[in-house]
């Protein structure tokens, strides 16, 4: 179906179901219960899941396929965001032109950056991209203040021209919308104490994420994707095979830059403000973590990694000392205090510590990321079933789902 093979179609359908049913799946605990704070099914977080999923999917097309590790992809995300907010200030609060322009501008910017950075490979390439991203950050922060709003960033204001919207009617507070449907619109469903929130912005972003995911599957399975994987394993050989590897790496770089721009545009569509911190190097590092945590070069891995990191960032950081004390009140006072002190280091503001530990565990024990972990769990069950391995089937070589 959709020109994909059976497994890929299945994967796409599963991902589609998961994203469409996310408001239920991410809210497993009833409102008011002590576990309700672990619910991730609120619009802001769900939007982040899919938007950073897009960012990581695109990053994986470059890093996962060609092996070129960019440490500056947040620059494209930021450039996409600035382009989108300007579209909203000048043209219309409808998110469609904003999203389209963010992809185009990020694509052009990544073409320039990629053309320069791809003259080197390996660590030198990574350092060049990092330098570019930090330069972009510094420009946005100070030099280009008239365009970027400097430290405070940009928001739509009532006084903005908004040429298209002005024709319809002025004096309305600027809210991002999709042909009239405001991104912030939510519909809540109360059911036996559970509250499920369906948000217009989330569903728009989720549909775009599904399209982006589908396109990435096509790229992975295409002759173009095969060339990119060949670059990762032996670029020198590829050149002696009659393939000019330079434009291939550049194409992959631009595609992943466009994905990053799309993510940046969507961030603005959901929350109409931009600041330069979006381009800071930690943001570039985060997408590397997401991809490695989920599984480099796998289709679904980056999405899982993005989800996990964003979940931890939002949920783990909310667990403060008071909450911990409440949980461990049943323990004797000294023991309880000790547990709270230790756990306190890993929660709240210390959530990065948990992330770091998790990252180390994954890299050391599961180099293939969460996807490999899942496969191992799944593989154990399968191995038990077929006891006499008469003739083992040839291992498939397509990248794992």
């Amino acid at each position: 179906m959709f020109g994909l093979n059976r497994n890929d179609t299945l994967l796409l359908i599963v991902v589609a179901l998961l994203t469409m049913l996310a408001p239920f799946l991410l809210n497993p605990f009833p409102e008011g219960s002590s576990l309700a704070q672990f619910n991730g099914g609120y619009p802001d977080l769900m939007q982040r899941f899919v938007i950073f999923g897009i960012f990581a999917i695109g990053f994986n097309i470059l890093f996962g396929l060609t092996g070129y590790l960019s440490f500056g992809h947040a620059a494209f995300l930021g450039v996409g965001s600035y382009a989108a907010i300007w579209m909203m200030k000048l043209l219309t609060m409808n998110v469609v032109p904003a999203i389209i322009i963010s992809v185009i501008v990020a694509g052009l910017f990544s073409l320039v950056v990629g053309y320069i950075c791809l003259r080197r490979s390996g660590i030198y390439f990574s350092i060049l991209t990092l330098a570019f991203a930090q330069m972009s950050y510094a420009l946005a922060y100070s030099v280009l203040t008239p365009i970027t709003g400097g430290e405070t960033g940009l928001q739509p204001k009532l006084s903005d021209p908004r040429i298209l919207d002005a024709a319809i009617g002025s004096g309305v507070t600027p809210r991002a919308n999709f042909f009239g449907i405001e991104m912030g619109t939510s519909w809540q469903w109360d059911w036996n104490g559970w509250v499920f929130t369906f948000n217009a912005g989330y569903y728009l972003a989720a549909v775009i994420m599904l399209v982006a995911f589908y396109l990435s599957i096509r790229i992975f399975r295409s002759p173009f994707g095969m060339m990119l994987r060949a670059i990762k394993t032996n670029q020198n050989r590829l050149n002696y095979t009659g393939v000019n590897s330079k434009p291939y790496t550049l194409a992959a770089f631009v595609i992943s830059g466009m994905y990053a721009g799309l993510a940046g545009g969507l961030l603005v569509a959901m929350d109409t403000q931009v600041g330069p911190e979006r381009m800071f190097w930690t943001a570039s590092g985060e997408v590397v973590l997401m991809t490695i945590l989920g599984g480099v070069g796998t289709l679904i891995g980056p999405v899982l990694g993005a989800g996990l990191i964003k979940y931890m960032e939002n949920i783990l950081s909310k667990i403060n000392e008071g909450l911990l004390q409440k949980w461990f009140a049943f323990m004797p006072e000294t023991a309880g205090d000790a547990v709270v002190t230790v756990l306190g280091l890993f929660t709240g503001k210390g959530w990065h510590l948990t992330l770091g530990l998790l990252f180390m565990i994954v890299v050391i024990f599961l180099p293939g990321g969460l996807v490999e972990g899942g496969k191992r769990l799944f593989g154990i069950g399968r191995r038990k079933k077929k006891a006499p391995p008469a003739a083992s089937p040839p291992p498939t070589t397509t990248p794992a789902e």
């Binding site: 093979n5 295409s222 994987r229 393939v243």
Partner: protein
Amino acid sequence: MAILQVRNVSKRFGGLQALNDVNLSIEEGKVHAIIGPNGAGKSTLLNCFVGRLIPDTGTVMFDGKSLLGIKPHEINQAGVSRVFQTPEIFGDLSLLENVMIPSFASRDGSFKVNWWNRADREKDVQDHAEAVLQEIGLYEKRHEIADAMSRGDKRRLEMAMCLSQDPKLMLLDEPTAGMSRADTNATIDLLKRLGETRGLTKVIIEHDMHVVFSLANYVSVLAQGTVIAENTPDLIKGDQRVKEAYLGTEAE
């Protein structure tokens, strides 16, 4: 007719004169061996054919076109395929993909963003790659990962990659280096068979006299960067200068 013409090629690395006024002409349809002791400049010469090195002086003409100063992928697209001394393959990919990539390069040129089609639905390329793997005897292993192969199989895979492009000229850099006697003989048989079925023009750089004398139609002997003798294998065996420079006292 000479398909590859090398005229007055010299190359110097610092104080070392690696190649000194080398003249060669490779005839179409022939197997031309270039032999010589270590450091004679054989690999330097080969690197001048594939765009890795540019000679200081002289010309290298392939099929009426100069090969100097153009990129490796352009030389390959012109019809020159190379087998490396240590097998250079796409280790993470399957054997079939390893052969499909050069086939794509032959069909689509050096760059094409063919991202919408499915690689496994490109029937012409896939059938072609499978046929080549069949020819070389690796068809049964086509879905295995290339890195898991034995060294001999990797070498054969690399030959399959070259053959899939149906090159006008195939360059083999010590195709039996590091192989056991049995593997060496198997490779000789394979190359002989390919020579009969395809009539390829080949340039073989080799240390192993056994290989040279069983495959080559013509032999050039390189010593200290200069061609000291050129002749058919039988006559080269008896050449006194060659014995002195290369075969030494162990001459057969």
